[in-house]
Subunit: 145 residues, 2 copies
Amino acid sequence: MHTADAVETIQREMTVFARRARAAAGRMHPELSLVSYTLLGHLEESGGCRATDLAVHYALDKSTVSRQVAGLERAGLIERRPDAADQRVQVLHLTGAGRHILAQVTESRRAAFRERLADWPAEDLSRFADYLVRYNASPGPGRQE
Amino acid sequence: MHTADAVETIQREMTVFARRARAAAGRMHPELSLVSYTLLGHLEESGGCRATDLAVHYALDKSTVSRQVAGLERAGLIERRPDAADQRVQVLHLTGAGRHILAQVTESRRAAFRERLADWPAEDLSRFADYLVRYNASPGPGRQE
DNA sequence: GTCAGGTGGTTGGGTTGTGCAACCATGGAG
DNA sequence: CTCCATGGTTGCACAACCCAACCACCTGAC
C-alpha cells in the first residue's frame, strides 16, 4: 500500500515537474533551449562525444540530435572534429563560447533551484539528488533496447 | 560544497527524467499523450475544474489547455458542464470512458514505474515521493497554484 | 439602465522539439 | 568486391507550445 502510493506519487510529481521545468526554462533563457542546454551539459561532462551517444543517452532520435547539433554549431557553441579512427564519426566538442554560455546558464539555473531549495536541510538535498540519480540510472521502460 | 553539488545534480537529473519520460510516454500510450493523461489525472483528482485552473496549475497557456480540452472532449473522455453561477465557465468532468482510459493508463504506467523501482526499499520510495511533492509544492520561478 | 474593464475560453499564426523513413557515406565482414 | 551495419542528414508530418486577437459574459461605476 505504502509502496503503491509512493510509486504513484513519484510518477505524478515527476510529470508535473517535467511540465513546469520546460515552461520555466524557456522563460529564463530564450537563447538556449532546455534541450540545447542539456546537450551542452552532456558534452562538457563527457568531454566530447558523438551525436549518436547523445541520442542514446537521452532517448532521442538521431535526427533530432542532428538538428540540435546543427543549431548549436551554427550558434558557434560547439564544433565537430573528425575522428581519426572512423571517418563517419564527428566528435562534438564545446567551443569557448559554448563553455561560456553553458556556465552562465548553469549558474542562473542553479540560482533558481537554490532559491527554491533554500529551506531544505542539506541532508535532504543530497538524499533527494541521490534518489534522482539512482532512478535515472536504473534501466527504464523507455530505453535499453 | 555539498549543497551546490546536490542542487546541480537535482536540476540535471530532473531534466534527464523529463526528457525520457516524455519519450517513453508516447511509446507506451500513443492514444493518450502525456499531457492529456496529466490533465485527465488532474480532473479525476479534483473532481472537475475549469480550463483556467488547469492552465494555472500546469503553467500552461490557456490556449494550449483549450486545445487539449477540445481534443479530450472530441475523444469522448471529458465533458463540459455549464456553471450555474457563471455562464462563461465550463466545468470539466471525466466521462465514464475517460475514467476508464485513465485507469488503464495509470495502471500500466504504474506497473512500469513499479518495475523500475522494484528494488528500492519502501522507506526510500516514500521519502523520494515526499521530496518530489515538497519540491513541486514550493513556489518556483514559474509561480504556483 | 449602459459602458468600461476584467475574466473564461477560442482561434489564428508561428515556433520548437520530435519521430519516422529515406537517404548518403563509411566501415567491416564474407 | 559485395552486402550489410552504422553514423549522420534531410524531408515530412505532428504534437505541444506561446502570443495576440478575439468573443462572450461578469462586475462595478456611472
